[in-house]
Homo-oligomer: 442 residues x 2
């Protein structure tokens, strides 16, 4: 190809993006893909949403949002612009830009499980064609886009940076954030080549308010990991400090709030019953795994992981102790768990510490129930199974318990009623400062 | 004493504070005591500054400020309000409020060295009297005020919370901070009793813009430690991430800056040649020491300490490698260190990582020099000794070196001239992104 031909391909794609003729294919209709489809549709693009789950596709085409903070009306709006969900991956060829938003979990030995990404590439690579942009948004180790995705593109006979464009731009979704959404969160982006980055910038700056270009796809991959590593480490630190403060008879929540009055240099992170969600407990270990290739050991990540993972048993120990002081054993006790979502005001229970606490309690032989206004029934999960439905919180249901554990501080909970009627209350979220029947900073 | 008598003592002291009749004695005329004396004098109080160093006393009484960011004019101003420096500790009896601002270092085995505090109490306790407030500002382990200071007061025949008031309020000085000073940084305060806290609030709210009361002196002590622990851990994390990023060929400064574009949940901390100053390398170990009493091990603090302390040799290794690639040995090489203060734009070299780097270089047999616009001559220190004066930075002095190491990024440095004339430049502060003769992110 001559330079003229190459530039013409790039220019055509950028023109199609700027004129909104470009069709965007988003693969993975979940917590990342759906908000991105809405943002893209709202920006004026016709969006094709790909998924392998037929139920999900039917639901989306019926404009029923499966995500609490995405209203179904938003799907109706983008449908007017051509939004459609499909499992027909041959339609990848119709797309000018393809954005991969599939999960990147860990396997059972805590190593990266890139199978959703690679199976996606297996499905789509025969439909890739000249003049397309391929973007990966899934969190992953530095080097993935270049080492894993690029070979698929090359095998398809395309040349990255010439007739095909490859970028990495990490999702920064924060469900339940009242101040920022997909459209207003700045988006970091690295290209495999300069031309890739230019095309990527053209696409994303049409969808979100600010694009932050970095020097490579690996730099963008590392950026996302660093964000979540810092969060995991700081929560781990606060969990360790909670244990120390507790032993000294101090209230770690009071201390964090006092420290947060320093107008520089301190950022409040809070301890809790562990960490949850699809990011913080998982992403850091992608770097741990990759660092081993360089003979390096990521000690902060390992330490944070260890301390954070130990918090559910810390909470259970607090319960055991408080019951014991009342002459009761945990075995056979009636225990009500408040909140099973991994954080406040959302319905997502993935990696939720509540689930780990519940499993420990089941192990101890507890008569278990839960209440969560956002999760009416314990969902089907790959690794966890409970045949439970959320019970209504009333003075009676609270009074019937031997103990109540507050694990997720949903704003919908009536904290006064809970404190009044629970015979014993273990508070892992710093809602209560009182003692007596309330065990604070557990 | 009757309740009426007790309340009368408290009321008299608060009245004397509010009417500015109260005399404030500040013990320790250093980086904390002098700014506090200025803030107190500016608030209208007559201040007595106590110290054991006669030179320092003469200097202060001549209105010569020994601290870069405190202008001598500020001392002239408070002198009009009665400010005087003295080594006559019998004058403690003249003071209504006594504030201790002495150093709390670590000893050689990294255990708390409270000797400046206890020797202060030894000197002043016979002059303590009814109706005084005693405040400790020195950073220390949770429990110090209650376990160490209170017994001195009681041995003097006084009763804390009745005829004498005892509080802990940690200093939060940040030399070189352009946005906040002693007067505008909120001040955390815990009292030994409720009455102590009330009197302490009366005093400090007359001096600073905001007082943050907490439930105990131990809570206030822990608050200060938590602030510096978080800082140490986050810098440690970034130093570890620098090592990983470096191995992967990534620029950690670029990645941190990209992560910092996330408008929530990420706070930028930067790696460097280590940590310095009188707080961050020291304070965390006060908690480590105290936690052992409870059978607890503060693992994040230890890990951060270990990684941060290893950075000077990391930097030296970068230098050795860069010289080696140019066919040179470090032994006998001419190496110029830029910046020996522990951070930008200040003159304080206490615990400065530059000093540790210099000691390593001396050990390797380097022909060493340094340049620091804030430190004209290497100061007298207890643990470190160099017979060196700051050299002028010129194209010639730079060109004469085998290598230049940028350790403190003072804004006064002419970074262009440095990059142009240094034959080899090791950059530990992320000032340069270029490669070639510049070794970035070292």
């Amino acid at each position: 190809m001559s330079i003229q031909e190459i530039l013409a391909i790039e220019k055509t794609l950028i023109n199609r993006i700027e004129s909104r003729q470009a069709k965007i294919g988003i693969i993975g209709m979940g917590y990342v893909g759906i908000p991105l489809a809405v943002a893209s549709g709202t920006a004026g693009f016709s969006v094709l949403g790909f998924d392998i789950l037929e139920d999900r596709i039917a639901q989306l085409n019926a404009c029923q949002s499966p995500i609490g903070h995405i209203p179904s009306g938003a799907l109706e709006e983008i449908q007017k612009n051509g939004f459609e969900a499909t499992s027909d991956f041959s339609r990848i060829g119709d797309c000018d830009a393809i954005i991969i938003c599939v999960p990147t979990p860990l396997d059972k030995t805590r190593e990266p499980d890139l199978s959703f990404v690679t199976s996606t590439m297996d499905m789509i690579s025969k439909f890739l064609r000249e003049g397309q942009l391929l973007a990966l948004e899934s969190t992953t180790w530095p080097g993935t886009t270049n080492e894993v995705l690029k070979p698929y593109v090359e095998k398809a006979g395309l040349t990255v940076g010439k007739d095909f464009f490859l970028v990495y731009s990490p999702e920064r979704e924060d469900p339940g954030n009242a101040h920022f959404n997909t459209q207003t969160i700045p988006k970091v982006l690295g290209g495999d080549t300069r031309a890739c980055r230019d095309v990527g910038e053209a696409l994303y700056s049409a969808i979100v308010s600010k694009v932050v270009p970095v020097s490579s796809t690996a730099a963008a991959e590392m950026t996302k990991l660093l964000e979540n590593i810092q969060r995991s480490v700081n929560i781990g630190l606060m969990n360790e400090m909670k244990i120390v403060a507790n032993a000294m008879g101090l209230d770690i929540f009071e201390i964090i709030d006092a420290a947060a009055t320093k107008p520089f240099g301190f950022t409040a992170y809070y301890p809790g019953p562990g960490i949850g969600g699809h990011c913080i407990p998982i992403d850091p270990f992608y770097l741990t795994w990759k660092a081993r290739e360089y003979g390096l050991h990521t000690r902060f990540i390992e330490l944070a992981g260890e301390i954070n993972a130990s918090m559910p048993s810390y909470v259970v120990n607090k319960l055991v102790r408080a019951l014991s002081e009342r002459g009761k054993a945990l075995k056979g006790a009636k225990v009500l768990v408040l909140g099973i979502a991994y954080k406040r005001d959302i319905e997502d229970v993935r990696e939720s510490p509540s689930v780990f606490v519940m499993e420990l309690l089941r192990d101890w032989g507890v008569d278990l129930s839960y209440s969560d206004p956002h999760v009416p029934a314990f969902p089907v999960m790959r690794e966890h199974k409970f045949d439970l439905e959320s019970i209504e919180l009333t003075p009676e249901t609270l009074a019937q318990q031997d103990a109540v554990i507050l694990l997720t501080d949903h704003t919908d909970f009536d904290f006064e009623v809970i404190a009044k009627h629970a015979p014993l209350l273990i508070d892992t979220r710093g809602v209560y400062r009182r003692r007596g029947k309330i065990v604070p900073t557990a």
